[in-house]
Symmetry: C2
Subunit: 202 residues, 2 copies
């Protein structure tokens, strides 16, 4: 009856599958154990509590997210990279609603550990914006604007806020937003007198 081959990995994968099916970041320990053909207390041999399992899924999600983003911009720079990043970001959020929601709800304000895990996400956005040669502070500002825009769009799509006024296409809205962001970025760079402000425009 013991050692039914259950491991941390297996549990995490099952939990991820569960979240992917429900589209919600909530995990029910008893439901997951049921799916694994095991009683609930067995999971406590591998995780101290639900929160710890949540953190593991959180970490897994961020790694997957960052990997997809990184791939999307692999052969691109500047404006092209920004556009690709934005698309991949939106794509991931729509395809992985449960995981994305978890990513955007786990760290509370002073969760040092949670923020450390999310760091690669920050760094990737920073690396893309660093290509324009701005100073560190400006990069920090524009990275915030960029991610706020991306997350804000996803959130409102989740909420269904988009289908209640006019016949405006959601994709068009996103394009306008990114165009707006890039124009603002170029202006900032022009103002600070850096070389080659505009990247590749399609």
């Amino acid at each position: 009856m013991p050692s039914k081959k259950l491991t941390k990995q297996i549990i995490i994968e099952e939990a991820v599958a569960y979240i992917s099916e429900t589209g919600s970041p909530e995990i029910a320990i008893r439901e997951i154990s049921r799916r694994l053909g095991v009683k609930a207390p067995s999971l406590y041999n591998h995780f101290r509590n639900t929160k710890e399992l949540q953190y593991a899924i959180y970490q897994y999600s961020i790694e997957k997210f960052v990997m997809e983003l990184r791939e999307s911009i692999a052969d691109k720079t500047r404006d092209e990279a920004i556009v690709a990043f934005a698309e991949a970001y939106h794509d991931f959020a729509i395809r992985n609603r449960g995981l994305y929601t978890l990513v955007m709800s786990i760290p509370s304000n002073n969760d040092e550990n949670g923020n450390r895990i999310a760091l690669p996400l920050l760094e990737l956005a920073v690396s893309v914006l660093s290509e324009y040669g701005m100073d560190r502070t400006s990069v920090a500002h524009w990275q915030r604007v960029f991610r706020a825009l991306l997350h804000g769009f996803v959130s409102q799509e989740y909420l269904g806020y988009f289908y209640h006024y006019g016949d405006a296409d959601v994709e068009d809205s996103r394009r306008i937003a990114i165009r707006c962001f890039l124009d603002g970025l170029h202006d900032e760079i022009d103002r600070s007198g850096l070389p080659a402000s505009t990247g590749v425009r399609e």
Copy 2:
């Protein structure tokens, strides 16, 4: 023992107070009844279930939110109104984290009722952007961009994503974002050849 004077209003107020204290949108029916000096089942004389109470708080929150926003732009138009709206939005979200989180998590994609309740929020943003004389579709697009930006910022502040790169001030970031938005908006209006594209700049 009956008629202890409990009403829908009183329950909602207590729940709102509870949410304001915890900063989380979750309501524990038993905790709220405890605070009201009443047993949990008593609440079911006034609400069919927790979800219905949640909706009531949701509605209350949106009304309060919209009222504050409306006041903030009462004597302003165009750019000035946009800036004031953005400030009031951020202000409300920071001061009422629990309620704001509830507002941004209640309607699921096809919750017709939830979206109907949230409509005034949409309409207010639309009314501000309509002052520039754009066509209906453009207003829809820019309203989405505007609100995405606002919510995205709040979300990331909640998450604590802002204190991990550079020494960039968060308020500065918000100003840059709004400036970027306004510039993009003005460009759009210029391109479509409308009169008086720029509003009042400070």
